[in-house]
């Protein structure tokens, strides 16, 4: 009996860190991605509907890493931002519902990532973020990936030290420590959501991936800076 209780408790504890999945296979949920096989991704400046004016920069600066780590070519973020500004295309909201074939021609991008920050609310030791991600094809104009998350982020769990080393953490000023903490929030929201994206050209090929269950399209999660 005590073995059974121990086994059940251990399993619950271990699964608590894993993402809850839908009952839809990735090959169905992300059919468009498996068909179009996009290689290069353009990062659109995030659309900030929250009351935190800096949320846009938190998310913008942390999109490259998870998408490149999934094996995609990401159009250089600072260079593309410069061109988007020059071409008066910095307001991504203008293109959310319009054809985006031009972005394919100018940037050589197969898809564009739109990030919509719906809300960012701070309470002591916690940040609650509602964020939506849309990946849209520049070729078919179809939406190939769409997930919306309500994420509770526990900021009292120290993770910056783990990511960059204790010494680096100590050397940061108080102001930049706060900034670093919120960059961490956005980084982990992005990483958690894009973990579900099918692997791109430069990623490690997994023939079983299309049969894996996809993450929920609308999800909620409790994360902290140690979430991988």
């Amino acid at each position: 009996m005590k073995y059974r209780v121990f086994f059940l408790l251990s399993s619950l504890f271990l699964f608590a860190g894993c993402e809850s999945t839908s009952n839809i296979k990735k090959s169905v949920a992300y059919k468009g991605i498996y068909e179009e096989k996009p290689i290069s991704i353009l990062l659109m400046p995030p659309i900030n509907k929250s009351t935190n004016v800096e949320a846009k920069e938190y998310f913008h600066s942390t999109l490259l890493v998870p998408l490149a780590n999934k094996g995609y070519y990401v159009v250089p973020p600072f260079l593309s931002m410069e061109i988007l500004k020059r071409e008066s295309a910095y307001d991504a909201e203008l293109f959310l519902n319009d054809p985006i074939a031009n972005f394919g021609e100018v940037f050589g991008a197969d898809v564009a990532v739109f990030t919509i920050i719906h809300s960012w609310n701070k309470t002591y030791g916690n940040v609650k973020v509602e964020v939506e991600y849309i990946i849209k094809s520049t070729k078919s104009n179809s939406i190939l990936f769409e997930r919306k998350g309500t994420i509770n982020f526990n900021t009292t769990v120290s993770g910056t030290a783990g990511a960059y080393g204790a010494l680096f953490d100590m050397l940061l000023t108080a102001a930049s420590t706060i900034a670093t903490k919120y960059v961490d929030v956005a980084r982990i929201c992005n990483t958690y959501t894009f973990k579900d994206l099918p692997t791109g050209k430069y990623g490690v090929f997994n023939p079983l991936e299309p049969d894996e269950l996809s993450g929920k399209k609308v999800f909620s999660a409790n994360l902290n800076s140690q979430t991988k």
Partner: protein, 114 residues
């Protein structure tokens, strides 16, 4: 025997949740790029340049090559800081490593030449 069975299952469950090694090494890219995006001053530019240089020389993750966008953005920041020749060289390296970048990078190079 019972213990062995239980620990085997728990071991299997735990490994299924453990994250794998990343494709690339990023150093403190997220923070450096955020500070540059926010402040866009000499100090943040120098910090970002130092991060790019670290990323370029310390790749030891799965792919062991410089991640997408790094050579090109490094070149762009160098150009903005007056190092046009070295900046151009970095843009060329982006195309060599990632041929899909050619459409965009060629456009940037032409814009620089005007």
């Amino acid at each position: 025997m019972k213990n062995l069975w239980l620990f085997s299952i728990i071991g299997f469950l735990s490994t299924s949740c453990v994250s794998k090694k990343d494709l690339y090494f990023w150093d403190k890219y997220d923070v450096s790029s955020y500070l540059y995006l926010k402040n866009n001053n000499e100090q943040s530019a120098q910090e970002l340049i130092a991060t790019y240089e670290s990323i370029i020389v310390k790749q030891n993750e799965i792919r062991k090559v410089v991640p997408p966008g790094i050579y090109a953005d490094y070149g762009f920041i160098l150009m903005q800081n007056g190092k046009v020749e070295k900046g151009n060289l970095m843009l060329q390296k982006e195309i060599e490593l990632y041929p899909e970048s050619k459409i965009f990078i060629d456009r940037i190079i032409k814009m620089q030449e005007k």
